[in-house]
Amino acid sequence: MPDLTPSLQRQAYLRHQKRVKGAVIGLRLGILFLLFASWELAARLGVIDAFIVSSPSRMLSTFLNLWRSGDLFLHVGTSVMETVTGFLLGTFVGTVIAILLWWSEFLSRVLDPYLVVLNSLPKTALGPVFIVWIGAGPASIIAMTLAISLIVTILDMHNGFLATDPEKIRLMRTLGASRRQILCKLVLPANFTTMINALKVNVGLSWVGVIMGEFLVSRAGLGYLIVYGSQVFKMDLVMTTVLILAAAAALMYQCILWLEKAMKKYMGVTV
């Protein structure tokens, strides 16, 4: 039987790693707990005005009310649906346009100044325009989301496509590859990481677009809850919604990370 016990140094190293990991998780939870505990305490002792800044216990009861009435699912569902539609559409349409620009260098040169102007324009300025053109509803909010994420996607994806190793393109050409084959077999797979990064950026941008859109026009959604809450001065509702929003956005980002992991596993390689 070979001796399978690791060396003493190895054991010490592993113990150290475990201790560090434990400390990191412990401190993370500790900070969260401390933050909420002192918030609650300060509110109870009257150091801060719970009517203005709310408190964890008031937020919890607000949350439970939202849950029981079913409003929570309506609002979270509406916002999540708008965000997911917005960022899938933004990534997809952006990638398609980036492919067209890669395909025709001439087109890309013609459109360059338009992309520069659209990229620097604060897209929120278009919000009222969309409402007038598309109408007050989810379609306007999704348009808002698209406006925010589309141009960045186009620019990032196009730059990624252009950065494809010219030697690999040369190899493809000597094998007799058509432009379509170069796109499908080289440029797109080589830019898998670019695409995942675009998705990651777009999740964040889409939330900005959705909340922005819901501020302007909506009858449901987390942005609507925040605006409604602040107008009727229900700060408990506002603060609870902000926390729900933080959780939803983080969860969605985590989903992209899972998707990335699954895709990489499926492709068998870390690109």
């Binding site: 030697e167 690999k168 040369r170 094998l175 797979p189």
Partner: protein, 252 residues
């Protein structure tokens, strides 16, 4: 002559003027021959290779391969790039059959041929691995098999060993030499390494500075049938080396 270059001239049009890359190059390659192309850096060796591969047309002159004028990339030519350029997201098998896939030749017969090559050159057990899991020498061998899988008549080697360290380079170049000879392929190697060109080829074509012409063609008959690694110890090696060295001298 399986490859025949007649008065090939290449001029680029750049926004700030015309660039003469190649002024007048003529030479031929016999079937089964291994020819090296050496020249000072920036003399347009790789450009000439692109032209022979059909990637860019010559400004004047003609290039024919197997008695047909070259106008576009053809299946008769196999190109081996600098570095292996294996695609990291594809397995070894998918990399090796890339050419077949592109040329819509991914038939059972062709696949069997590719598999046979992998087996003959010791890579069969790695077909499901990814390029990152292989050593530099093995990757280079894969790159050659990817080129051989489409069964080209001529191999164009564009400094394929330049990215390898010295030790690996000697063994890999000997390795590649053996494979090319065994498969009875005609090869044109571009390199800036004089020793490499002498140790591998039947003839060495020396080019001048840009705009390049053929300065001299060395026939290495005295080294025929000597394997690459032994050639470096052969008395004739030094003589050829010095001659080519002088011809490449920038001040000559």
């Amino acid at each position: 002559m399986i490859v025949d270059l007649q008065h090939v001239k290449l001029t680029y049009q750049a926004p700030d003027g015309e660039v003469d890359a190649i002024s007048d190059i003529s030479f031929g390659i016999e079937e089964g021959e291994f020819v090296s192309l050496v020249g000072p850096s920036g003399c347009g060796k790789s450009t000439l290779l692109s032209t022979i591969a059909g990637l860019e047309p010559p400004s004047a002159g003609t290039i024919s391969i197997d008695h047909e004028a070259v106008t576009a990339p053809s299946a008769k030519i196999g190109y081996m790039p600098q570095k292996d350029q294996l695609f990291p997201w594809r397995t070894i098998w998918a990399n090796v059959t890339l050419g077949l896939e592109i040329q819509h030749q991914n038939t059972g017969e062709r696949q069997a041929h590719a598999h046979e090559l992998l087996e003959r050159y010791g890579l069969a057990e790695f077909i499901q691995k990814t390029p990152a899991q292989l050593s530099g020498g093995m990757r280079q061998r894969c790159a050659l098999i990817r080129t051989l899988a489409t069964d080209p008549k001529i191999l164009l080697l564009d400094e394929p060993f330049s990215a390898l360290d010295y030790q690996t380079r000697l063994s890999v170049s000997a390795d590649i030499y053996t494979i090319i000879r065994q498969e009875h392929k005609t090869a044109l190697l571009v390199t800036h390494d004089i020793s490499e060109s002498i140790s591998l080829s039947d003839r060495v074509v020396v080019l001048t500075h840009r705009p390049s012409r053929v300065k001299n063609i060395h026939t290495l008959d005295d080294l025929k049938d000597v394997p690459p690694l032994q050639r470096r110890d052969h008395p004739a090696f030094r003589t050829h080396f010095n001659e080519i060295w002088k011809e490449l001298d920038a001040h000559a």
